[in-house]
Symmetry: C2
């Protein structure tokens, strides 16, 4: 298996990327490709005595910056590290690409250089979040701000494959993220998608509100890319707001500071349980290659876990399974039409 990692993606590139790549190559005894500015990367690898056959640098003279316009950057700067990394997927030289760069840039590059799986209307950014007793797959969390019911229907088909193949969830429970649990709840999009999912052979359990998501009542949560983005970013914002408020209040008195010290291992366990670094990388599901996007703030562990998820996806051939799932629905649709 060949994973290619973007060395120039995270806010602190290339350190988290290099550290994670070295760890991963060693851990799985499997060479990894690192794409980025050779003059920047080579000296670091040399200084750490990393054998070339373990981490191979693919030179990319340019960097896709956070404020580059995604669509323009995908076409224009065709020698940026994302473009070159994705070209390796297209030519079959690598099996999956991992980046902590700009999501819009990754999607634009992926659409331009790789394209969609045949039959997929819109690829979705597919995230996964820690919930009570497990994980929930959420899509779309950012690619498609305006959606149609057919898109959401396909997100469900693809999300199921992902939940099964990457997280090993059997018969994933699919739900629509809505403003109420009852069948009639939702905006027009949700109300129109509901009967499509209900009529399908998918394991559709209806609408869920955010609290049901966090209670772990659904495995695959379907939403448009706007509401999904609000959902994911609100989750991060509240967790961070709450954590910093707790920290401030604990430090406000000597006694509670001591309490905080004694409870520190407990807080660490909470942090680890809920850390987006655990499985924070999102997959561009529907693109005809495996492209994983980590958080811009990714640390070494986050990048390492993103590589782990990418390997999992390659090993279980998520791509073939998504192609097949989409194709079989298309075929079913066609045979119905000709009946």
């Amino acid at each position: 298996m060949r994973i290619v990692v973007d060395a120039m993606g995270s806010d602190n590139y290339p350190q988290p990327e290099i550290d994670a790549v070295i760890q991963a190559a060693d851990y799985w005894s499997d060479p990894i490709l690192l794409v980025g500015k050779k003059e920047l990367l080579q000296p670091i690898l040399d200084s750490r005595n990393i054998p070339k056959k373990l981490v191979e640098i693919i030179h990319a003279p340019e960097v896709l910056e956070m404020n580059d316009k995604p669509a323009r950057a995908a076409r224009g700067k065709s020698t940026n590290s994302m473009a070159i990394g994705m070209d390796l997927l297209k030519t079959g030289e690598a099996d999956a690409f991992v980046t902590a760069g700009n999501t819009g840039g990754a999607m634009a590059n992926a659409l331009f250089r790789i394209g969609r799986i045949r039959g997929v209307k819109r690829p979705a950014v597919t995230g996964s979040i820690p919930v009570h007793d497990g994980v929930a797959v959420v899509l779309d969390i950012g690619a498609n701000a305006d959606c149609r019911p057919e898109y959401l229907y396909q997100f469900a088909i693809m999300g199921v494959v992902y939940a099964e193949k990457v997280f090993g969830i059997k018969k994933p429970r699919i739900a629509l993220l809505s403003n109420g649990e009852e069948p009639g709840k939702g905006n027009t999009l949700i109300k129109e998608t509901y009967p499509m999912l209900e009529a399908s052979d998918l394991n559709f359990i209806g609408n869920v509100e955010p609290k049901e998501v966090y209670r772990g009542e659904a495995d695959v949560v379907i939403t448009d890319g706007f509401a999904g983005n609000v959902f994911i970013k609100t989750s991060e914002a509240v967790a961070s707001f709450l954590t910093s408020t707790i920290r401030t209040e604990i430090k406000a008195s000597p006694i509670s500071s001591i309490g905080g010290l004694l409870a520190k291992p407990a807080f660490s366990r909470v942090g680890k349980k809920l850390d987006p670094a655990e499985y924070g990388a999102a997959l561009l599901l529907g693109v005809d290659a495996l492209v994983f996007i980590g958080h811009g703030r990714s640390c070494k562990r986050a990048m390492f876990n993103a590589i782990r998820m990418a390997r999992q996806a390659v090993e279980n051939d998520v791509l073939a399974a998504v192609r097949e799932a989409i194709k079989s629905r298309l075929d079913a649709g066609r045979s119905k039409e000709t009946e």
Copy 2:
């Protein structure tokens, strides 16, 4: 001032309502009306020796249940406590109505029995959340799952009045809740609303993501009722998920349990700071009367604070100010048309 409180709204009615009403009537030395089943309420008040002139019961033989269809209930069960409470606003016998009942039911009753302020296209459920160093007003958090740019524009006009009059915020900063801060971000609705707010004389600061909301960078956050509902409910869900995870982990070892005990006052301060009971009641802004809706899980303190907010709104004549703000925009629009 006469506040009328729905005795039959909260999940644990009528206890939180009665307790809060007694406290409020005493605190402000101002009689309060309590609407609900007299045969249920009277014995409780009698047993506590509450003088009739302090808390007056208005009999409502029916109760709007959580699973009643809002629109049907508003028309059908016209003797439910919400309907009767709102009728008192219409006739001028009361200045504001406070309920912890079903939001949909309250909106349906309000629209049917009271109606909109002249010129208001859609009333919005207007919430307020604790953020870094203050409070943010968020609307719509639930009434209008599908919105048009004109609605959002009016939400901004009304939200400003509310932030000024109820929270005393001068020149409130208005922002659109979006999936990115840059001006081009958002779904079609946000992209179309942006230039309208930019061209207005409102203090529009652009798009915000959830993290900026929690950092306290905007005073009035504008959103459609679907995304706004996801935002508010995700906030609650994550706070509750995080809190319960922390509790479980702290209890998992004797040492961290001791730490937790020592830090307890700090946790209480956090709880109080972030408690939706503090100012969790939402106003139906755009309805031609003051209707406040508390959380279904409202405790006595939440109900008391809802009454406090209602009093604040009456004292500062929010209703007249909203009428005036909407009217002046309408007039400005008309004079432009005739120019």
